[in-house]
Symmetry: C2
Subunit: 626 residues, 2 copies
């Protein structure tokens, strides 16, 4: 098969120093389904298998669309603008003026040649006085928004409702995963608070997606740097790179200078929801002195970021004064940066957290832009020793209390979770979260299942992530190999995303998510039939799969060979199965013995084809060494 | 701290083309405990923490002993010879003469300059007529062997019995893990068949180790190549490399030519048990034509390998004729190479497997050398679609039946398991294995929890491995990133081993293995106190941890800095905890609030030290940017 869709890396336009990776993921193409043009990816398969292309969920946005024109300086098309305005509940207002301290107390650093985003909006949207523009508010009034419709089509990956329901194979621990996602189901889940659609009205570039236990498990990638100017380009590149490999949302955790400008570049070029931790920026505005933080500075930062379009805010409002001493006996104390900032503030003033006390005021801001809460776990355990302790669960109880307050305002909420947790304590985290927070979506970092493997913490945490995803966690925040050691580079971001993508998929399989197994089965059939290119293209990372294959068998011919480097051409365990099938046929075994797991037609076709292949190679199991 | 134990890579002796990595693992030293000189590793910690060195389990053998002289041409010292001979039940016999076909039908290939192992034994050991030299046989007669004593000390990692039993924190699913391993406990576990000590009497170089649910979870690394001559050196290097990073046993899966010679080099230089799949070599002797295999050729191969010292044989005696048609409807048929060889043989002759029919004769050979069975799962699932199917569980029932036959002969047995299994079906595998096979140790490949991530299958399988290890699997066979794609190189071997080591450790933690958490806690304390070098050295892979750290903060000073690259020097969440402790102290909180998880003394020392550090840096949480 001609490699017509090989990845092409193109420079960003206008020689800006901004470059991102564009072009289709190898062997696939972007499609847009239905009148809402829901973006998906189709993986083409070798004509020999006579299988239709496989559709997969695709958060990579226009960057992987061969037909799209990418202009980073202009930003992405505003696909949701009409939907937002059509609801008639928003007004245009002047954007809060950007102040020097928005880019750090010393103002922006232009030394790296980084300019403010050129196509910045001067007018932004806000709910009309008294209005609430959150998806939850619509949902609770029975309104199905285009965002909800988009999510429904997206979650079904374009499938029509199946005539016959396949027997569900999985253990879902009380989830309510439907066979087919209808817009009404999405609405109902959002109304109940069991799912969120993080879509700030000032981020109309975003493709709607849902985070909830009854949808596909999602993953988040963190980017952001201690901004020296030249890093802005690197962060935009990481954004595009992380969604290319499957990140469903991205958090911009930038600190330092240029923080406002960096975010603007990211927002305008992101097709996925962007989350932030606003206290990080607020801290920069007071030169890193936590005790100098005030509600007014924080509030102003929320509005600044909400106007830019941030889709969810991590707010550590559960770090209450009374809980802080509970961390004194811990091995690793407070490891959350946001949590420690608030702890420092509370201790210095010996006062209750202003995030907790002003929580209803925060809700008023959230509902004016539809920013979702991601209630931060500032007291999460930073080591196996500290897992599931009093501080952690006390905070979780408070997050549950705050969830109810947010829901009173019809604000979307998800709950952040740990951290470092040994395997036998993971399930309790999920159970307590569901109970304390009324089934609001859980969003966990890992958890890491041991502390002893720095350099491999994408794996120590991928284990915990797959498990908690299975138990019901809605979104998994990735961990890269650099965790605890340094800042992730581009390669680390990719490894982190792919690791979490496979963990999320393993969770979907185990939950019995309908159709999750289609991709596994398609890949396994390709493997069994020695369709090497299909095997690469169906994988989460076709480039790595092919390059690993080529390290052992580099010849082009090896990609169509009916053997692999494990057994070599002389004896192949895969090939024996054709003999088995023939044998079983001769034995007059019942007909269903011959049905491959997909369909009878597939099996018959496969058998006929395999026979042809054997005939060509001399009716032998052993092919001559090439 | 001076880096006195930095790794040194030295060439093998005599310019043989054989080179292996020697020298201590960074920051640690080899120790030998007690009169049996049980090998362990001690990780030295920075004097500032006043903690004793941390002892860890260490399968790396003399290669990491600074005091050892390594001569690959001579082989390792025979530490068990006296123990074996002292039992008075063995006799010396002439070694079966090496035939050309032992190195493949065309004989050995000397073109790569590879010679037979020079220091080969001409006389080998065998049980006296009527004797049974298996550890299980001794155990059942109430004899505690030096091997069992060695294992007891090793499993305790040199700890004396704790005066006060720590509260056990874990979920062990019915395992019987003792607080302290006595030699009698080891004997009893071996006698019951719940653990094996794979130690062929012709492999006196091996350091005894146990595989069983009530001991630390072990890992296996596969090496071996489709031997072109030059690969022998690479395989010896991979052996030493894989045990350096923690492989507890190694399987030599070599095929092709030089197969006998390769094995001899590996055996004589291995301090860990070596396993093989004898049918691979038998197949080479009949030029790869499975139907030409005979019991006589197979039997002769068993004796050849037993005389060389192979410690366990994978034997696919459960692939019965009647089960083969059950694989016809599978997506990926039979994926085990040994399983497909036997399926091919059974189909060609339309006869029951000679491995099954001759099983008692095989037992007679095993008991004469103390080779353990690793009963192969020739019908394991090769895809998610095929997991837990009729073929797989039918074979498992037969493996249970064969276990009872082997035990009748006092032969040690473990059971191989899958494969590809989604998370929700893993536990059933463990439960069925325990039930069908009378608690004989389970030894699984992964399992892989999804099929869609070739290139990352060390991770898809590491997830399943950690889980099944927790549920009770005794040994985890590693999977490298090259699985399904190509042959692992040195780097892949290391990644596979470290991934499985962390999975096994996560399982030990979750099972509540006593003292498993000591290393996590030591590393977390080092992390919290910014003892960077201790953090690296306590990790599973100090070299990678340090190199990742240095990519972001390369300066030597950064290794003693009280901050990391995540937050930078201005604000550090770790440091806030000292303030929290001071605050809690001022609040007159109860005394135990201040006890760090280790001990009160530690906590007090830690607090005093941290205070000193703060004083030195100006009583500020914020250190100046360097």
């Amino acid at each position: 098969m001609a490699d017509i869709n090989a990845r092409t890396e193109t420079d960003g336009p206008r020689g800006s120093g901004m470059t991102v990776t564009t072009g289709p993921i190898r062997g696939s193409r972007k499609i847009h389904v239905g009148p809402l043009k829901v973006a998906m990816r189709e993986i083409m398969l070798d004509p020999s298998c006579a299988e239709p292309p496989l559709r997969v969920y695709d958060p990579s946005g226009p960057y992987t669309d061969a037909a799209a024109t990418i202009d980073i300086q202009a930003g992405l098309p505003e696909i949701r603008s009409d939907w937002i305005r059509a609801r008639g509940d928003v007004e245009e207002v002047d954007q809060r003026e950007v102040r020097p301290e928005d880019n750090g107390l010393k103002g922006p650093d232009r030394s790296g040649g980084v300019e403010p985003f050129p196509n910045v909006r001067r007018r932004v949207l806000r709910a009309k006085p008294g209005a609430n523009v959150s998806q939850m508010h619509y949902a609770r009034r029975g309104i199905i928004t285009p965002e909800m419709e988009y999510v429904a089509i997206r979650e079904n990956v374009g499938r029509a409702e199946l005539r016959e329901k396949a027997a569900r194979d999985g253990q879902d621990f009380g989830a309510s995963i439907p066979d087919y996602v209808t817009p009404e189901f999405v609405r109902d889940e959002v109304a109940r608070g069991r799912a969120i659609i993080p879509n700030n009205i000032n981020h109309p570039e975003s493709e709607p997606m849902a985070i909830g236990r009854n949808f596909l498990v999602k993953i988040n990638a963190n980017i952001g740097n201690s901004a020296v100017a030249s890093d802005v380009a690197a962060e935009v590149d990481k954004l595009v790179w992380s969604i290319r490999w499957g990140a469903d949302t991205v958090m911009d955790l930038s600190t330092g200078r240029n923080i406002h400008d960096t975010r603007e570049w990211i927002m305008r070029n992101s097709p996925v929801p962007i989350g932030t931790v606003p206290i990080y920026q607020a801290l920069e505005k007071v030169n890193g002195i936590a005790e100098d933080l005030t509600w007014e500075i924080f509030r102003d930062t929320l509005i600044e970021q909400a106007e830019q379009g941030v889709d969810y805010f991590t707010i550590h409002a559960g770090v209450r004064l009374a809980y802080i001493p509970m961390t004194a006996k811990r091995v690793t104390g407070i490891v959350s940066r946001g949590g420690s900032i608030m702890a420092k503030w509370c201790l210095s003033h010996h006062k209750e957290s202003f995030l907790y006390e002003r929580f209803e005021e925060i809700c008023e801001i959230m509902k004016a832009y539809d920013v979702a809460f991601s209630l931060g776990d500032g007291l999460r355990p930073g080591s196996i020793a500290d897992a599931n302790d009093e501080a952690q669960f006390s905070e979780l109880a408070t997050l549950g209390e705050l969830t109810q307050i947010a829901w009173k305002h019809d604000i979307q909420v998800m709950i952040e979770g740990p951290g470092h947790v040994p395997m036998h304590k993971i399930k309790l985290n999920m159970e307590k979260q569901l109970e304390a927070c009324g089934e609001a979506p859980f969003y966990t970092l890992g958890p890491l299942t041991t502390d002893i493997a720095p350099g491999y913490d994408h794996i120590t945490s991928g284990i915990g992530a797959a498990m908690i995803g299975w138990f019901g966690c809605a979104m998994l925040c990735y961990v890269t190999p650099k965790e605890h050691l340094g800042l992730p580079d581009r390669d680390d971001v990719k490894v982190g995303v792919v690791t979490y993508k496979l963990a999320a998929h393993a969770a979907d399989l185990a939950k019995g998510h309908p159709a999750a197994q289609l991709r596994d089965d398609a890949l396994s059939r390709a493997r069994f039939e020695f369709r090497w290119r299909d095997q690469f293209n169906l994988s989460l990372d076709p480039d790595t799969a092919e390059s690993y294959h080529d390290q052992t068998l580099p010849a082009e011919g090896a990609k169509t060979a009916h053997f692999c480097s494990m057994c070599g051409p002389k004896f192949c365990s895969m090939k024996i199965t054709q003999e088995v099938r023939d044998f079983a046929a001769k034995q007059n075994a019942p007909a269903d013995t011959f049905i491959a797991a997909t369909s009878e037609a597939d099996a018959e076709r496969g058998m006929a084809e395999m026979k042809d292949k054997f005939r060509l190679s001399g009716s032998e199991l052993y092919l001559p060494t090439t």
